[in-house]
Symmetry: C2
Subunit: 335 residues, 2 copies
Amino acid sequence: MKVRDIGEFGLIERLSRGVPGGPGLVRGIGDDAAILEATPGAQWLATADMLLESVHFDLSFTTPEQLGRRALVANLSDIAAMGGRARFALVSLGLETDTDLEIVDGFYRGFTEEASRWGVILIGGDTIRSPKGMIIAVTVLGEVEPGCAVRRDGARPGDLLLVTGDLGGSAAGLAALLSEPSALSGLDARHVQEVKARHLAPEPRLREAEIIAAAGATSMIDVSDGLANEANHLARESGVSMVIDAESIPISEATRAIAEALAHDPLDWALNGGEDYELLFTAPPERVDALADTVRTQTGTSVEIIGRVERGRGCRLDKDGVRSVLSLSAYDHFV
Amino acid sequence: MKVRDIGEFGLIERLSRGVPGGPGLVRGIGDDAAILEATPGAQWLATADMLLESVHFDLSFTTPEQLGRRALVANLSDIAAMGGRARFALVSLGLETDTDLEIVDGFYRGFTEEASRWGVILIGGDTIRSPKGMIIAVTVLGEVEPGCAVRRDGARPGDLLLVTGDLGGSAAGLAALLSEPSALSGLDARHVQEVKARHLAPEPRLREAEIIAAAGATSMIDVSDGLANEANHLARESGVSMVIDAESIPISEATRAIAEALAHDPLDWALNGGEDYELLFTAPPERVDALADTVRTQTGTSVEIIGRVERGRGCRLDKDGVRSVLSLSAYDHFV
């Protein structure tokens, strides 16, 4: 069955049927606007993202469920990067009239399953006809204790620069998905599976972020556009300089194996790849060991020191004894 | 200059430069998520809408400023329909790389000017490349006193059904914009101007809504998809029936004149036209006169009784002594 077979009202009814409520929700889907109650004293966080078919995702190798999860994870990661707790989501969808209902159902199933993992409630959105390709716009609202949000502008000279997990895995996964199978034939199948999953089913670092924020991180950002861009954002917003040690950047064995097979520099994926959704943050040196230990113990996620904050402007990369300017990634959505 | 000439980061910097802050905003554009503070004790309202070029708007007769206003008004109208106060907005834009920067600047100028009229602060969003056509996704957050939101499910048998302003004007304006000039040549130019403005520069009824909510309206919805659809939504959500008197539906002289010139039934525009952004609501009979007087006196906007709420289901239209079922509009975005 296609979207046109049930029409707009059929679609809205179908979508709103299975949506669970939860704490803080007074009135959800079905009115002009949702009605919400905040945790007393909390500040709100709000973030929005847009994804387009053929620009940001490809339904030929992404399942609708994975797409639903990813569309939400991008926003959850933004809430994580503030040290907040995600609470509510709105999703607006543009669909072609001959889109299979299975795709729509799968998208919402993935979206709501990922949402319920984090206690997030779907509260509204919009559904419109798209002449060509699927369009997804997600807004997520979160909460944080007043004054406890970790912003981009708090890094201070003397702080260390740290990152959760490892980088470049999602870009390696995308490259693997786009490769001829023969190009990967000599590889350990687990490595190929690992990087594909990194791209198709990324994990938002909400629990890690909460620990990092509580441990006194001075600034934080999520790595959605590669380390080079995100480090530059932190440096600019904080009015400081960052020096990164290339050898310390965590890159997984799987990412390195895919890079070797495809003759790509794994460091490029770490610096300029997209959608890793790891957390890049700064903290005073005396807090770093305890912080990293707590994150590892409580979540199983590694935390590595990859550089330090200095006076000045911009970012530099130390590699093989050579220091170079680490500029914003060459990749630009509009160029 | 085109979007590609300044790139993604240039665009974000350009957009965030002129954006004013305001009460309740702790941190706006420039971080992973905005940080907000609610008015103590208030409930939040949240709504989202998506607009696509060639489906919902046409830049050949809509200026970028008008488009920016309209994109926001659709959401402001949803907050109004709950009796709330609009506070914050997020806007995500998909732009072609060769979009003129004048269009982007005009859009944001219109958006932020309309926002500042209502004390609404732009707090974030996303900017991405669209392969074809402009894509706009807006989320608006509002506030309401706890328990005071006017929902769609409160209409009770015995209530009267009322509407602000007049209906069908936006559809008449769109028809006028799409007509050959010769088809309108015999008309009063003020009538043509009036309906075009109704389509291109609609007014959200936020002040009217606040008065209506305070006066004890039992249910309310904004008329974005025509009276037939909206009356059916109220009836279904409230579990009641509505009977509408066709003669009482307010249709302006200008709308009637355009309809006559284009050989269209003006009642069809009122029942099935889009984007009027008037308020349709129910109230107990004893409150109606004072309510309508207060709205007229304080805002200049008329309020008319167009029907009544009965036991049962669905909506009926009394016209020329004949009662017919008023079903959901034949127009469906997906069919």
